[in-house]
């Protein structure tokens, strides 16, 4: 075995070990979700049974999942749609336009990333109330319409694109909006895709802000709904039902990941997010 082969094997082993560690919680969740009641060997990954779909039935009955799915999809896609516009525009401004104080402004923009979101709960809520957005789905989305991370990512992405393309388009008489739409955005698509994944995952999984911003049961999202039957503080958890409920919440994202796995990995490799 040559030296490179040895390293390769070692790398493969290390990667497999990480993969096993990563997959254990998912595997346990799958096993637990399929076991009704509270079996004595509840921690087992390879139980004897019996198995059944009762937990999924119970979890589904515990809340209004169709409504929660709808609200979550509306929130995630609403945030993403606005973000894609704002981060493209802001990213372009920071990457290509020259104006006084550009670097300082960009640094200030990045400072936002250092703030812990819970710090802003009260001021954000006060703003929502004054804008009459409290207890509305739009209120959950509003604070995320501008994304410092997305702006940074798009700025970096735009800067990797050679200016030759833009100059060629400008010679043909393209305006700035046309330039962004027809030249930069198509070339920056992997960056946008990577950002979309991060954004959707983050807002799909978010718990605290939706809990704060919305009160009516009709505007509840998945995470808050799941917690309503999964987080009994004074009793043991019905693990099976909790696992089934978690599956219902995480399922769509997992499915998307499996379907578009190749593209996701390609986008991440391109954009350098790990």
């Amino acid at each position: 075995m040559s030296r490179t082969q040895k390293w390769r094997l070692l790398g493969l082993l290390a990667a497999s070990a990480v993969a096993v560690i990563w997959v254990v919680p998912f595997a346990w969740m799958a096993v637990a979700a399929l076991r009704p009641g509270i079996p004595a060997d509840t921690a087992s990954l390879t139980p004897a049974g019996p198995f059944g779909l009762r937990n999924f039935h119970d979890a589904w009955q515990s809340g209004s999942f169709p409504l929660w799915y709808l609200n979550t999809v509306v929130v995630c896609s609403g945030i993403l749609a606005v973000q894609l516009v704002t981060i493209t525009a802001a990213g372009y401004a920071f990457a290509r336009l020259t104006f006084p104080g550009r670097e300082v402004l960009f640094a200030l923009f990045l400072l936002q990333l250092l703030l812990v979101p819970p710090l802003l709960i009260v001021p954000n809520l006060a703003t929502l109330v004054s804008l009459h957005l409290y207890d509305k789905l739009l209120g959950i989305m509003a604070p995320y319409f501008a994304s410092a991370f997305g702006t940074f990512l798009m700025r970096q992405t735009f800067r990797t694109i050679p200016r030759d393309y833009e100059e060629a388009a400008m010679l043909e008489g393209a305006t700035v909006p046309a330039l962004i739409r027809h030249v930069l955005v198509p070339l920056a698509r992997p960056g946008l895709a990577a950002f979309a994944i991060v954004s959707v995952t983050a807002h799909w999984n978010e718990f605290l802000w939706p809990l704060m911003a919305v009160s009516s049961p009709s505007s509840q999202v998945l995470t808050v709904g799941l917690a309503s039957f999964a987080s009994g503080a004074e009793a043991g958890s019905a693990w099976g039902v909790v696992a089934a409920g978690t599956f219902l919440v995480a399922g769509p994202l997992l499915l998307l990941f499996l379907l578009f796995q190749r593209r996701f990995v390609a986008s991440f490799l391109f954009s350098g997010i790990k």
Binding site: A126, D135, L211, A233, A235
Partner: protein, 362 residues
């Protein structure tokens, strides 16, 4: 009766000025709209049950429209309530852990219930008399009522009947005092080749469980864990608290009948269901969950008390009612009976009146 400590969810009337203002504006045309925040402290589809109750209230009271808002855990509920108050959208009422009520009172974010009670034609005293006396200290701060006892939970001793029989103990007579409790723990612990197969006792210590249970045991040791009349004073080094710690130290470190380290409530129930612990101390709020999931025969009892210590306490011997209390046999609780809470509140001795810390403070 046993140490009834807080862990109650209390309804606190919050920032009534805002709600009242809303009421006077809206009354003419449409029903008054108010929010009720509630956590889900106990297992089960309580969120759905709460919604059913609120719907019933709304149909019976067309002039008030209550929105029941599920607000997560105890801490999330606290967080959401504070944020909503600061944002100018306070809920009319909140169900939350009694631990938090004093904080709202200090910050002047909560209004007392007294005017509402008087409006309903009762005096605060007659109103509080509707509740077990032991539940009252949670609700009253500075002689005003800031909470209504609701879903109060107390620590219970759950025990596995087959394990008792197997260890030669009488399941009809669960341990009633600390000495019996320690002996039972020893008899119930099963070790095999240096490994513990069955623990004598488990109790949770995550979140505020440890403080809650120590608080209960301190009461059953004749003392108080903290000053009920003056929030902020905790009796860490009082003999009654030190006695409780000595009990825990004995059971965990010396006799090893309780697993070391911090167990959470899930670990306790899982171990109890699997027969890996013969006794556990857990909330009354867990009773439904245990009833639904425990397949082995089990019963519940009051937390054992330290009778010897109590007799030696001079302050209490003066009270004739209390002598009766000490002499009363510890009764075995029937789990089924306890869930359908008996209406006769005479069953419960007014613990706080007997063992209350000296008056003073506020």
């Amino acid at each position: 009766m046993e140490p009834i400590t807080r862990r109650a969810a209390l309804g606190a009337a919050l920032a009534v000025p805002a709600a009242a203002a809303l009421g006077s504006v809206a009354r003419a045309a449409s029903p008054t709209e108010i929010d009720l925040f509630f956590p889900v402290p106990v297992q089960g589809n309580l969120a759905n049950k709460m919604r059913e109750l609120i719907e019933r209230f709304n149909t019976e009271h067309p002039d008030v429209q209550v929105t029941a808002v599920y607000t997560g855990s105890y801490d999330d509920t606290n967080l959401k309530t504070r944020a909503a108050i600061k944002a100018g959208r306070p809920p009319a009422a909140v169900i939350m852990s009694a631990n938090f009520v004093r904080e709202y009172v200090i910050n002047e974010d909560a209004d007392p219930f007294d005017p509402l009670i008087e409006h309903a034609g009762k005096t605060p005293d007659t109103f509080m008399d509707e509740f077990w006396p032991a539940l009252q200290p949670n609700s009253v701060i500075g002689r005003r009522i800031y909470g209504v006892p609701f879903q109060n939970s107390t620590p219970l001793l759950y025990y596995n009947v087959s394990a008792f029989t197997e260890a030669g103990l009488d399941p009809d007579h669960p341990p009633a005092n600390w000495a019996d409790w320690i002996a039972a723990g020893k008899a119930l612990t099963k070790t095999e080749g240096g490994q513990t197969r069955r623990w004598g006792l488990m109790f949770p210590a995550t979140y505020d469980y440890c403080g809650w249970i120590v608080s209960g045991l301190t009461m059953s040791n004749g003392g108080q864990y903290f000053n009920h009349d003056y929030g902020g004073e905790v009796y860490y080094n009082a003999p009654s608290t030190l006695g409780t710690l000595a009990l825990l130290d004995t059971m965990v470190n010396r006799l090893k009948v309780v697993p070391p380290g911090v167990s959470d409530a899930n670990a306790c129930t899982s171990a109890f269901f699997a027969g890996h612990t013969a006794m556990m101390v857990l909330s009354t709020g867990s009773l439904s969950f245990v009833r639904e999931n425990m397949k082995l025969p089990y019963r519940v009892a009051f937390m054992p008390k330290n009778v010897a210590k109590r007799r030696s306490d001079r302050r209490r011997v003066a009270d004739p009612a209390q002598r009766q209390f000490i002499g009363a046999p510890s009764r075995r609780l029937d789990p089924d009976q306890l869930v359908d809470e008996p209406r006769d509140r005479r069953r419960v001795e007014p613990v706080h009146r007997l063992f209350r810390a000296p008056q003073g403070g506020l």
